[in-house]
């Protein structure tokens, strides 16, 4: 969680939510959450577990480079 929020601090285009999934069961269903922590970046990149900073960064950059939903062919 800290990594996501620190990245939000670092860049104006990045926003980061902590979501307590038991309070929002519809999101658990939407994102197929069976284990936590689970991270979803821009609806396109999903991963489970706590990962090192470099790996987290890689996922964020991957999502940032992908075209936003709706612009895909």
């Amino acid at each position: 969680m800290r990594l996501a929020h620190q990245m939000a601090m670092e860049h104006d285009l990045i926003t980061a939510d902590m979501v307590e999934v038991q309070e929002f069961p519809f999101l658990a269903q939407k994102y197929n959450i069976y284990g936590v922590p689970k991270t979803v970046v821009n609806e396109t990149v999903h991963f489970e577990g706590a990962v090192p900073e470099a790996v987290f960064l890689g996922k964020v950059l991957q999502a940032a480079e992908a075209k936003p939903e709706g612009e895909k062919k």
């Binding site: 969680m1 990245m7 285009l13 926003t15 902590m18 307590e20 038991q22 309070e23 689970k38 940032a64």
Partner: protein
């Protein structure tokens, strides 16, 4: 009954007295009905705000206060925004308990100091981001 134990509250007060620099605003969104955890999350926000004169708590009603709900792009409650000299895009949806409570305190310190603890390499790499990035981290109470 308070959520924070006396001993923890004293420790946190000391920590924040030492570490906070600029004022921090906690913006909390809630509603009276049909929100099981809003009350307790609101109590936690109040107790955190009471830890330091530099922490201000502003509470809005998710149903009534449409302008701030739109401004902060809040889509569910309870929601907590940590804002400093600007809104950095830091949100907590639901009750930050256990490990997430520690994150909340550390986030408040970072926002107050306008600095974070990412590595220089990560900071440099993030400058390449030119599209909006929305990160959601799903957790359970610990």
């Amino acid at each position: 009954m308070p959520l924070l134990k006396d001993k923890d509250r004293d420790l946190l007060k000391d920590k924040l007295a030492k570490e906070l620099a600029s004022p921090v605003k906690l913006v909390f969104f809630t509603q009276e009905l049909e929100c099981e955890t809003c009350h307790i999350a609101g109590q936690l926000a109040q107790e955190v705000a009471a830890l330091s004169d530099k922490i201000e708590l502003v509470t809005y009603n998710f149903v009534v206060d449409k302008e701030p709900v739109a401004k902060y792009k809040i889509d569910k409650i309870p929601a907590l925004v940590i804002e400093g000299d600007k809104d950095y895009g830091i949100r907590y949806y639901g009750m930050p308990s256990g490990y997430e409570f520690t994150s909340l305190i550390e986030d408040i310190v970072d926002v107050s100091r306008q600095s974070n603890r990412l590595s220089p390499k990560t900071k440099e790499a993030l400058q390449k981001v030119t599209n909006p990035v929305h990160i959601q981290v799903f957790v359970t109470p610990t």
